[in-house]
């Protein structure tokens, strides 16, 4: 059977765009930590790409999108992508797209979701334990939850093998629940498991490179067009709606976060602009194909405002969610998922619904709340248990000395910046040594 070249091109391009978001996130987070822990922060994202990609091929895709399971997981029928390669996936268009294009596009979502969590435990997590956590969390939380929300089974609604939230009619176009509420709740759980950084909140742990943060937010914004508009799985009218709403909500998020800062703190900060953009992006994600452009402006305004206020909660409740995964992803995800109940309109997408402001009553809001809090509760509980088990067995925190000296040197044997141009090193092993091989010292 023929495939749609245009739709395939757009989905493949979108997959690459979504992949770029994870390095973008690494810059966004990396700039916010101190110079002694930027490499560790960025590595927490990079290793996620490696781990989740391999798990996805082994069984992740099958658990998320396989056809052999029930409403809670997809089963193991597609292990090793065995029945996927060479197959075609219906995407609602006249011609289908290759199944591998769909599988790779969805892989990128599975990668960035655990990476998002890392911001909650900056500067202090043992790296090997983080790597183990990523593999287990993807397995126990992301893959099943992606099935709940994103797997529509054989046909549009109520089909065979669909996820239980998709079957209930929960609307989440690109991952407000499965990605953002999910990662935000997990971040909250891990912040409790690992505890506060030494010195927090009395000591100022100021961002060491705000241009990195702005660069990261720009890469996220760019990649997010793939995340949202790509979720249409084709180069079609729905993709255009998602593209427009993504742009507008994000732009409004920048402005409304800065407005809060101007009123509350007096200054318009670069960190605030970058954060407002991400808050807007997070909130429009579930709603992007279901709301009008004006609805998107309203959602961006709500997200920028509420997230700017929510980042203060950690000080009130005393949990060191270091880079505000809760304040931005959990709160932003909730704002967007619930806002569908208010602003959704079938005038932009007949597969959507009408929210409260478009004559739809409160039903949609109720369904959205069920979806949001089901994912929130599941992620919070499972992550808490998983985090505590890893903390008691492998240990989840580096030593006090390593944390204060800097986690980059302790965990990676590297430092990010060399600002002193003098010498001061001598070869121990390897290429750099001038000694005869027999005289080389072995670095035990």
């Amino acid at each position: 059977m023929e495939i749609s070249a245009g739709d395939t091109a757009w989905v493949l391009t979108s997959a690459a765009l979504v992949l770029l978001m994870t390095p973008g996130l690494a810059f966004f987070y990396g700039g916010m930590v101190r110079s002694k822990s930027v490499l560790n922060m960025m590595m927490m994202s990079f290793i996620t790409i490696g781990i989740v990609a391999v798990l996805w091929v082994l069984y992740g895709y099958s658990v998320a999108f396989g056809d052999d399971g029930n409403g809670f997981w997809g089963g193991l029928g597609s292990v090793g992508l065995s029945d996927v390669a060479g197959e075609l996936a219906a995407n609602g268009g006249v011609y289908p797209i290759p199944f591998l294009a769909f599988a790779m596009f969805q892989l990128m979502f599975a990668i960035i979701t655990p990476a998002l969590i890392s911001g909650a435990i900056a500067d202090r997590a043992k790296f090997t334990t983080w790597a183990v956590f990523v593999g287990l969390w993807a397995t126990l939380v992301y893959f099943p939850v992606a099935h709940w929300v994103f797997d529509f089974g054989d046909d549009e609604l109520g089909g065979e093998g669909d996820g239980w939230l998709a079957g209930l009619g929960v609307l989440d176009f690109a991952g407000g629940t499965a990605v953002h509420i999910n990662a935000g709740a997990a971040g909250l759980a891990l912040a409790f498991v690992l505890g506060r950084r030494i010195g927090w909140p009395k000591t100022l742990m100021k961002p060491h490179n705000l241009p990195f943060v702005l660069l990261g937010s720009a890469l996220l914004w760019f990649g997010w067009f793939g995340f949202n508009a790509g979720s249409a799985l084709g180069a079609n009218a729905t993709a255009a709606v998602a593209f427009a709403t993504t742009m507008l909500a994000t732009a409004t998020g920048v402005l409304s976060w800065l407005l809060v800062e101007r009123i509350r703190d007096g200054h318009l900060t670069s960190l605030g602009a970058a954060s407002g953009a991400v808050a807007g992006l997070v909130a429009i994600t579930p709603a992007c194909a279901f709301v009008t452009p004006i609805g998107a402006v309203a959602i961006g305004f709500l997200a920028g405002t509420l997230c700017a206020l929510a980042v203060g909660l950690k000080f009130r409740f005393g949990f060191d969610d270091s880079l505000d995964v809760v304040g931005i992803h959990l709160v932003g995800g909730l704002v967007g998922s619930l806002a569908i109940g208010l602003f959704a309109s079938t005038s932009v997408n007949e597969l959507g619904k009408d929210g409260l402001f478009y004559g739809g009553g409160l039903d949609v809001l109720g369904t959205q709340a069920v979806g949001s809090f089901a994912v929130l509760g599941y992620s919070l509980v499972i992550t808490l248990i998983l985090g505590l088990v890893l903390h008691k067995t492998l240990g989840f925190r580096v030593s006090e000395e390593d944390e204060i000296t800097g986690i980059d040197l302790a965990e990676h044997a590297e430092t990010a910046y060399e600002l002193f141009s003098g010498g001061g090193s001598s070869p121990t092993t390897g290429m750099a040594t001038h000694a005869a091989p027999a005289e080389r010292k072995v670095n035990a």
Binding site: P207, G266, L271, V311, G327
Partner: protein, 112 residues
């Protein structure tokens, strides 16, 4: 011989440097420093969390001088770096036992 050390506001460095140049001082060492005096620090706000940063950025400027030039040079530095506001900095003078110019091996006043 004396060592004159001045801690001044960073934006005054160019003024002080050109004033010293026209006075006839041909060399100096400049470094970035941070510290505080009576003005204490300034406040920074990150995502709404407000912190007082105690250490304020300053410039430390060091000049080696023959005894006879010291009073004039100190006056030039003070006059050019003064704004009259809190945080203008300090200038102090300490005696130096010996100085060697590395290139030629000259010692004492010859090395200045």
């Amino acid at each position: 011989m004396k060592l004159v050390t001045a801690v001044i506001k960073p934006f005054k460095l160019d003024d002080v440097r050109s004033a010293l140049e026209s006075f006839g001082v041909h060399g100096m060492t400049v470094s970035e420093a941070s510290g505080y005096g009576r003005q204490k620090g300034h406040t920074e706000v990150y995502r709404g969390a407000e912190y007082t940063v105690d250490l304020v950025p300053k410039i430390r400027l060091e000049v080696l001088l023959d005894d006879g030039d010291v009073d004039d040079v100190v006056e030039v530095i003070v006059k050019t770096s003064q704004t009259g506001r809190i945080g203008d900095g300090k200038v102090w003078v300490i005696p130096i036992d010996s100085v060697v110019r590395v290139r030629t091996g000259e010692r004492g006043v010859e090395a200045l």
